[in-house]
Symmetry: C2
Subunit: 405 residues, 2 copies
């Protein structure tokens, strides 16, 4: 064991892993607000921290069939929450997308095109690549709103049909995008998919658990959500909601057989190599937070949360050379602000682009992306009003310090 | 929100998720002993419980390039620990296997056969199925030892060569199997693979972190390990160790490009859809436990742990109609005992096969698989000697109660 020689060094390196994020700081990290654990999830995390803890009472060798803790019930409740026929958990939202494309590729082997909005997450592109498919983008309006032309979907469908003589394999719409936090109404795309007979996947990684979503009303066949992004789960864990029509495709049972032993595993789901890798903390924290997530995703609370982001925007918009990107007013609180004034400061600042993050941190605010001063992404989701107001004041005070107000 | 009507019911159902496993019980669950958190991992789990917590200081958009916490260093140390060129983290050991087969299928598209031992985990079979490959098994000696005929590998290689005119795609050996805890020496298979020029994958899900492993010495090209099974991580998290030769295949960069936007992601690893889903608790607990795991996987401690299983076996073997399955003496403490005496009791017991688990639980011992009395799997890994002795006493006392001693 060569490494044993270094055991003191290893202890030093790894035995004191700590995080600066704690109650003394206000965290406005764009990806982290929706994933913050509820008190119930933190309790469950500690209780179920060990590997395979959810499987203590597994009787059937399937995570989705465990009754204690109530996984069976939970998956049903999750489907009711999204108003879709079925729900399964996955390693992450990106795995949900990959799996949908994999399953549809087997069902419709001639269809090779996935139509997506041009603000889709990089993992949407990579899921297409991993499935050896081709991407067709629907354009957006560009600076400063970057609004997806929803009407562009029909044009691209027609193009694909005429060029390829085949329907697209899948239409994907990003419900709320990662970059500008723009909200897209799934209804017109759902109706279009119905009309043309094309499966429709809503990527709700940033919205499921934050905004109300009704799949049936919007003709959504598949929905991908993220427990660690937006459903207060430790994770990583994804959700895949799907229509009954695709039940046998998604929950494809294994058919392989040992050539000597005849071993076979017909109860195991091949799509997930048996069980998706969420056995333990990821699933139990998602379940523990679920009652609060159901409440917070209702219209009324979602609107109150949007008000917080809009309040910040209203107060910082007059800082010199500052422009809020994306559609306004905000529906989802993920916000992107172009801060060319700060960028100008960074050019001559000894800490370069890092100064902004550091000045916010001095004031007890963390979560700004490191080294970037040209654009600033923040997320006010779940902050209290006094925290929102304090964040706004700090933002303005830093601008004042650098003569930008 | 139809579910809101049920919010009280939801709170009741999910807000008090607790686990019976705690310090008052001795847990002998066959899958769980190696995954139990170290004190350092429990601390890190709480600190990094929120989604994406490892990504606080991500500068390059790649989990394997994060320097704070020291992920870059950790992956290097992990590779040194296994004595292999490179290591990456994955969603789970099964994903590591699936990925190796995927990568090799692209490299050698004509090779369609994966040779495995006939005690391979079901997820090994499912990884083969998911990659549209065919399985060829190497036989074992059957009851009661179920010892893999390592010399059978060469025979099967020759069969494949002559039947298909192509080499097998991959040789897989299960280092320690899930069912009998049998240990297999990888050396002769590694040498064989060298001789024939076939890639060699050691599935060390049950052994990496428990037994010493030296990949170079054993000519291992790929190794899959499991953080939640055997490396004291909360997980789920897998490890994939691989030789430099396969670096570009495993770490395949994305090449997709948006047709309108020209968006591309050449820095992202397509094999992992960007980053493997371990950002947060799974990875940080693996890192926090690592110094202790390095120590415990050395020869001396591994031998002491094996002694514990062998002690139990020595003391219970004379219980009527009891037979220890698998090779003896134990090298790995996962143990399978045929308990036909208990099975006879179950036939007329009001609690049927559940009685055994319940009687152990009354004595403070948990982790027996539910409803099964014919075979009993247990794992003494990491128990103290007093706990091992107490478990043995309880085992014998239950046998006495039912007139089996």
């Amino acid at each position: 064991m060569g490494l044993l020689k270094y055991s003191k060094e290893l202890v030093q390196k790894y035995a004191n892993l700590t995080r600066t994020v704690n109650e003394e700081f206000i965290n406005i990290h764009p990806l982290q607000r929706g994933g913050m654990l509820t008190p119930e999830a933190l309790k469950a995390l500690i209780d179920f921290g060990d590997g395979y803890s959810v499987c203590d009472n597994c009787l059937k060798g399937r995570i989705d069939q465990i009754e204690n803790p109530p996984v069976v019930d939970f998956l049903k409740d999750l489907a009711r929450f999204l108003n879709i026929d079925n729900a399964m958990v996955t390693a992450a939202a990106r795995e949900s997308k990959r799996l949908v494309m994999d399953v549809l590729s087997k069902k419709y082997p001639k269809r090779k095109i996935v139509i997506i909005d041009s603000l889709a997450h990089y993992s949407t592109y990579l899921a297409i690549e991993a499935n050896h498919l081709k991407v067709k983008e629907v354009p957006n309006s560009g600076y400063p709103e970057f609004s997806i032309y929803l009407e562009g979907y029909e044009k691209v469908i027609k193009e694909v049909k005429s060029e390829k003589g085949e329907l697209p394999l899948l239409i994907l719409l990003t419900h709320v995008d990662y970059k500008y936090g723009n909200y897209n109404d799934p209804k017109p795309i759902g109706e279009l998919c119905q009309e043309y007979g094309i499966p429709f996947l809503l990527n709700a990684a940033y919205s499921g658990g934050i905004l109300p979503i009704d799949c049936k009303k919007n003709f959504i066949d598949f929905i991908s959500c993220s427990g660690h992004k937006s459903m207060a789960a430790s994770g990583p864990i994804g959700i895949l909601g799907f229509n009954e029509k695709y039940q046998d495709d998604i929950m494809r049972h294994s058919t392989i057989q040992g050539n000597l032993t005849s071993r076979s595993f017909p109860n195991k789901i091949c799509s997930f190599l048996g069980c998706p890798p969420v056995y333990g903390a990821p699933l139990i924290t998602l379940m523990a937070s679920f009652p609060r997530v159901v409440k917070r995703a209702q219209e009324e609370i979602a609107k109150e949360e949007a008000k917080k982001a809009n309040y910040v925007i209203e107060n910082i918009k007059n800082i010199k050379e500052t422009k809020v990107l994306g559609k306004l007013p905000k529906i989802h609180p993920l916000t992107n602000v172009e801060t060319l004034g700060f960028h100008e400061v960074a050019k001559t600042h000894p800490r370069k682009g890092f100064f902004l993050r550091e000045e916010f941190k001095e004031k007890g605010i963390i979560g700004l992306l490191p080294g970037i001063s040209k654009e600033m992404k923040f997320n006010t989701y779940g902050l209290t009003w006094p925290q929102v107001k304090y964040f706004t004041e700090v933002f303005i005070s830093i601008a004042k310090k650098h003569d930008l107000v």
